[in-house]
Structures are given as structure tokens and as C-alpha cells.
Amino acid sequence: MLKIKDLSLKLGNFSMHGVNFSVNQGEYFVLLGMSGAGKSVLLQVISGLIQPGSGSISLNGRDITREKVQKRGVGLVFQDAALFPHMSVFANIAYPLRSKGFDRNTITRRVESLAHVANVSHLLERYPKNLSGGELQRVALARAMALEPRCLLLDEPLSSLDVTLRRELRQLLREINRKGQTVIHVTHDYEEAAMLADRIGVVENGTVVQTGTPEEVFMHPGSEFVANFAGIRNFFEGELIAGDSFLRKFRMPGKEIYILTGEPTGKGFVTLRGEDITLSRSPSDSSAANSFKGIVTSVDPFGPAVEVTVDAGIRLCALVSRESAEGMELSPGSGVWVSFKASAVKFIPG
């Protein structure tokens, strides 16, 4: 288990303070935050490239706060892969093994098996400048795993890739994690976080403001920041069920909703923007596939609008104008119909 306790540091104008979180053995932990929030710095601190001002880092019960970078057993994959341009892919993956003084046969064997896992076996003779973005990341992953790190740190590994490559690499990351590899993954993309994370830590202004499962973090944002950052109030975990057309059902405890998607069936999350939910006094006769009766539980001002929370078997948050809210005389306890289109619901495979 990796445990960060009361970590603080100052780097020029940037500072981190009171950072506390822990990552369990074999867990996929995502640090989510806007750029400049301090996520990458945090990874460099964990890996020992930057020394914290105060606080402690322990890995599997051992204090590694002042441990040498080389001895920490923490592998870091940089955002742009940081492969050595003057070395072949083979030499890149072999680099950490050579540093540790393994013999030639062992190195060859290990590199081949790592390349197989990362699906880069056909690239071993190539040089980094002849690789695509996805290939660079795969090689960097293989290289970082060569020393069997106790914890693998990934700095925005998917950010420079297109959609297809992103899916492939995500698959690889899941696979690596499934084999028991503890992973800390930094991203600014909440969908990526939801897809991969066992747990999420939200980073804001140089500290971790909330940790929890994706559902806990998105459904019950611990601060205004988390709520605004993700931009979503309605986030549910459940299962996408097979259907005849793209109009499918998504089942969650207490409710089924219609959703328009081409994604394969399986477990995952759905998100729905508060702006896309319509409230009415009576069942509406519209094209919306989802229409439920519920009871208003709270009405809160939210910027220029009003956020109305409705219990309709699931907790839904709708954003409506102040005028509409007053016109409909919405208050806690009043009955209301909520409706939204199946196409407004977004599915995130989990």
C-alpha cells in the first residue's frame, strides 16, 4: 500500500499542502484535476525526482520519503513517453535491466516478454522517432515495468492519442492492472477516470480534496470545485442491457432508463447533464424516451440558474431558470415530472 501523509512542498510560485491519500495494493487509482493543479508534480514527488518540503510517503509499510530515486521501486511513465531517442526500442526497454546489471540472456528474455505484453514485439529494432504516439506509450510502459515496480505512475498516458488508440491503450492498462499491478494514473479527463479507476482522488490547488469511487466522487462532489470541474450532477453506475436497436436500456438499482448508444453491453456509467432534464407539472407529450414522476427534495440557486434535485427512484439534478422554478412553484416535497431524451444520456464503459 502506498500512503501519502501531510505532504507539502513549494516550487517557485507553485505549492502543495496537506496532501493525504492512500492507494491499496493492486488498485487502479486515478488522480483527477485540471492542468496546473499539481498532479504531475505529485507523481514526481512519489517517484523521488522532487523532494517534498514536509510529510511522508510510505510504500508497503516502509518509509521512502528520503529514499533514492533508483531504489524506490516506483515506475514513472511521462506524458510524452520520454524514450531515449538515441536508443532502439529494445535498448530502451533493456535500459533499466542493464542498470541493474542483469546478464545478457536474462535481459533479452525479459525484454521480449515485456514487449509481448505491451504488443511492441515487432518494433524492437526501431528508433523512437519512427514510432506513433500509441507505440511510444506502449514502449514507455514496457520500459517502466521492466523492474517490476511496486507502483506504476502514469502521467496523462492517453492525452496525446486519438480515440481508437486510446481505447487500445486503456485495454492494455486494464490488463496490466488485472495482473495485480498497482497503478496511479493522472488525468484531467473525468470520463477516462470513470472508465479506469477503482478509486479517484480529486486534485485542486495543490492538494487532494476528495477521494472515493467514481460514483462517490461524481454523485456526491465533496466541494463546489469537484461539482463544477466534472460538470455533471447525474452520474450513475449500472449495466447496459442488450437491445434490438441503438435504443437500449441501462439498469441501475431502483431504475431503468432508455439510452441511445452503439457501445457494447456491459457494466459502466451513465452521465446526464442537468441542462438536458426538463421538469413539468404533468406527464409531457414529447419525444423524450424517459419520463418519470418524482418528488422535489431540494431547490438551490446555482449561478444564474436553479438546481432542482428530484427523487424519482434515482436522484436527478435538473438545472432550470429562476423564472421557471418560480412559475412552477417548485419547493421541497412538491411532485413533478422529469423527462429527458435517450440521446442526452451518455454511456461510459467501466
Binding site: 533508483q70 514513472l76 511521462f78 520520454a82 531515449f84 531517442p85 535500459y95 533499466p96 542498470s99 517502466a144
Partner: protein, 262 residues
Amino acid sequence: MSGFQPLKLFFIFLGGLLLMFIIAPLAGMFIATSPAEFFDTASDREVARSIWLTLWTSMAATLIFAIAAIPFAWILARKKFPFKRLVSAIIDVPVVIPHSAAGIAILGFVSRDTVVGRIGEQMGLGFIGTPAGIILAMAFVSIPFLVNAARDGFSAVPEKLEKAALNLGASPSRVFLTVSLPLAWRSILSGLIMMWARGMSEFGAVVIVAYHPMITPVLIYERFGSWGLAYARPLAVVFICVCLFFFAVLRMLSNRYEDAEN
């Protein structure tokens, strides 16, 4: 863009004048030297000895001082420390002071009255009028070329690569030898060539520390002073040919190295 461009033509004309300024005196000197004079001079034993001395002392100055200059250049590129700008400025001092003054300074530093001079003497290494003194004088005036080129080379290596290597279990010295040095090598090589060329062509500092044994620039001066232009010219032509030959060969080798990398 096409059409009449007076400004461009004017600039080309200015460039042409500049090129002529460099080429004309050299060409004139070559034309004024007959093949017979050239070969007589080239086969003169005194000349051959001085060219050999010039070549090996400048090479030795470059290689010996590179041992300290290259790691120091890495420090300048990577580390922050107090008075760093002052240190960088000190490195450039030999370029801006008159080389005869540099020679005087070195002479004062290593003469038999000083601690350095005495220690050298006891180790059998006199500096006045010896190859060791020539090496010191050449290194003094040419070291900035290597330090500056190597520093620029190291600065251009992304620091992230060094960090990645550390994270991958490499010791700092292994990071330097396997990542920083190979990636900065082009600049370092070009710095080594420049330092060597500069050392080889040095006159002012060397003539003060060691008139004898004579390196070729000193010999050229001596022949000019004793017997005049006609006698010094063939030697100058021979030495220029030697310099250009080595400069071209080294450039070619370093280009081949770059091609192999690409």
C-alpha cells in the same frame, strides 16, 4: 516572390564583398607561392618539426582540458548555483582579452618563482619554453569554445530524459554517460574541433610562454621578422593547408557521425 528586388541584390553584393575580403588575401598568397617554394618549405625539417609540435600540443590541450570542460559544461547547463552568471562570464574572458596579455598572465602564473611553477619543476614538468607551457597557453585561449558548445549541447537535452533514466534505476554517473553525453555529443564534438582549431592557430599567448620550441605560428613570425615576407609566405601557405586539411577531415567525420544518427 519574383521580380526585381534591389534590396536582395544589394545584400548579395555586400556578401560578395565580404567573401572577397576573406578569399582575396589568401588566394593572393597561394598565387605568389610557386610549387617549388611550397615543396621546399614542406620538406624543411624545421618546418615539419614545428607543424608536428603544433598539431600534437593543440590536440593534447583539447583532450586534457576536455576532461574537466565537459562535466563542467553539464553543471553550467543543469544546475543552479550562486554567481552562475559570473562563472559563465569568466569562461568567456579568454575570448575578450588580448592574447599577448593572456600569455603574460600565464607566464606570471607558472614561472619558476610561483608555487605552481615550483611544483611543476619538482615533478619534472617545466612550463617555460616547453610543450607543457605551449599546451597551457593554447588551452587558456581556446577553452571557451568547448565549454560553451558543450553547455549548449547539454542544455538542449530534455531534462525529462535524465529524470526518466534515474527513475529507471540508473546511477547519476550512468545517466551522464548513457543519456546526457550521447545526446549532447554533436555539440561537444563540434566544440572539440573548434577548440583544437583555435589552439592550433594561437600565436600571441604561446609566443610569450614558449618562444622555443617553435610552434608553426611562431616560426612564421620569426621568419618574417628575420628574412621578410617572401621567406615567411611559403610557410604560411603550407601551414594553412595543414589546418584546412585537418579541419575538413574532422568536419567530414563529424558530419558522417550525424548522418549515421539520422
